[in-house]
Symmetry: C2
Subunit: 339 residues, 2 copies
């Protein structure tokens, strides 16, 4: 018997930002640790691109980056990731070639409802995220300023930059070049497209220096080609291609100011964040650059800019196999939480 390791929270008649309504939006989540009596020890840790909670919960545990012996940690799975409502699990009239577009406004709105309804949590001790997870953490801080005490935003942005969009367009182009793409849906699993997607991604996710120093050999891969196949192609071959397109669209549209409240005013949207905020780019991240992060940090009232000195590119912020960067994050988060 299959025992899922997550819970499903249902939001009836959930209105998406784009104007469609999901009759039954599903939010899959998992919790770690115990909520204290005053409900003051909650950490929200949303998922990143392509990931499910099991892909990112390595950093949770006693004395880990997110310490489950002291904190109650909730991972809500992003819409589109295959566990929460996604192209792969939606019924008609959605699904097929008519996926709804999810935005981070949808993600954080649903998450807030979950926290209030199920856990009676009104205020987060911390919203922590990497990459698309941090996009959601920043949206929390801007849309619910009173409800977020601290933010740690790792290798991310509040508004997706033009270059980042071009990177995403390359990924989308590679995936939808596949014969299985019928213009609005995949007719079957696009194996070629998924492999190409992995190869395009591989060049962007790590830095030039990571490859120059052949770090993949230290990770146990026998060659560059072995790394491309067993890490990058494998990572995406196990994903649903429509879900990848869905999350890609969420990423591309990520803009903390693109909502009724801020009407496109980025200064206002970032200026509204009251949380003590750590903005932590990787110094060699190729698509969330530290220059972009610094520009955004300057617009957040209570932000500290703290780049991760690393050759791991975007992966500096998800250092499952990189103890040095893990320690950097652990120290930074501990300092933030002790404040």
């Amino acid at each position: 018997m299959f025992m899922p390791d997550f819970e499903l929270y249902t939001l009836p008649n959930f209105r998406l930002q784009t104007g469609l309504t999901l009759p039954e939006a599903k939010l899959a989540y998992r919790t770690y640790g115990a909520l204290n009596a005053s409900r003051s020890n909650a950490i929200l840790y949303p998922t990143s691109y392509g990931a499910q909670h099991t892909d990112i919960d390595w950093l949770i545990g006693p004395y880990r980056i997110l310490d489950s012996s002291r904190y109650f940690i909730i991972i809500p799975n992003m819409f589109g990731n295959g566990l929460s409502s996604s192209p792969s699990n939606l019924n008609e009239p959605f699904g097929g070639g008519r996926f709804p577009v999810f935005t981070h406004v949808d993600n954080v709105t649903a998450q807030r409802q979950l926290l209030r309804d199920v856990f009676e949590i009104e205020r987060l001790a911390l919203a922590y995220g990497w990459s698309m997870g941090a996009q959601q953490a920043l949206h929390w801080g801007s849309l619910f300023p009173d409800s977020v005490e601290r933010i740690a935003a790792v290798c991310s942005s509040a508004r997706t930059s033009p270059h980042n969009i071009v990177f995403l367009e390359g990924l989308r182009g590679a995936l939808t070049a596949d014969p299985a793409w019928a213009g609005d849906r995949f007719t079957t699993r696009p194996e070629r497209g998924l492999r190409a997607f992995g190869r395009v991604y591989a060049g962007w996710a790590l830095s030039q220096a990571f490859y120059r120093q052949k770090v993949y050999l230290e990770l146990g891969y026998s060659s560059l080609e072995d790394y491309l196949i067993r890490d990058w192609e494998a990572s995406f071959l196990r994903r649903d291609a429509s879900n990848l397109l869905s999350m890609l669209e969420t990423w591309k549209r990520s803009d903390i100011s693109d909502n009724d409240r801020y009407g496109g005013d980025l200064n206002a949207a970032l200026g509204a964040i009251q949380a003590k905020t750590l903005i932590m780019p990787g110094t060699t991240d190729l698509y969330f650059t530290q220059e972009d992060s610094l520009a955004e940090a300057r617009l957040i009232p209570n932000a500290q800019f703290r780049p991760i000195p690393s050759i791991w590119g975007h992966r500096a912020g998800n250092p499952a196999r990189n103890p040095v960067d893990q320690q950097f994050l652990k120290t930074a988060v501990a300092e933030l939480l002790s404040d």
Copy 2:
């Protein structure tokens, strides 16, 4: 009547580095300016990826970067570019799904034969190149040290770096994800793959800052999407997909030391260059990084490292639409030639 603007030089029974023999290798070339009586004013300017001589000769002219009022400039078209021997023009048993692999050893060997046989040129005043063109210029300096007085190598490398290979693998993956790819050949024109190829390329060729500052608007494009379609997709839609794969393979294999003479010894191959050499990376080039260029420059006895300060990424070295970087190159080349 179609009047080609180039000459064809035929090399009978041309042995390729990989061990195959082309019964009739064709080298397409064009010359600009006049060769002087002592044959001492020749500049070799090989082509870059995807390009033909007409794509890169904008920088030749009186008082331009390569001054045709004083120098005799030869552009040899690289094997695989559609004018010289290429998948698109080879007869069986080559062509179809059995393209020969061209290396830069093949390119420079054929070019040297052309220069001697047709023009009786024994020594170049300058070998100038950008990107894959500079790979060829550096190969000239290493394989024929007595025959090259100066080298200007712009945004390039003598040996393709591991990260650069990953970038190329992403391009190849995108192109061959297309339905027209039959495993060893294209059955028809891979329109989707070519468009995807252009989108992947777009993210790499310019810097993050180029996109952040929306320079594409200054260039006359009305939006980012307009730029991606009318510049990047258009650039590759007019190319032959098999030729793109052929040149990609040449690039991937580019290694100045991978030949009988140097047997993989990069120090020896770079150390053999006698030419006064300018190594000119772009400071924001994402796939030919200045770090890689500096490491190579240190191994060339008479090299000057002179990075181009520019947000134009790899395009800093081919600044047809960028007067500032043009002036930088013009000054550098003028100083090199006056020495």
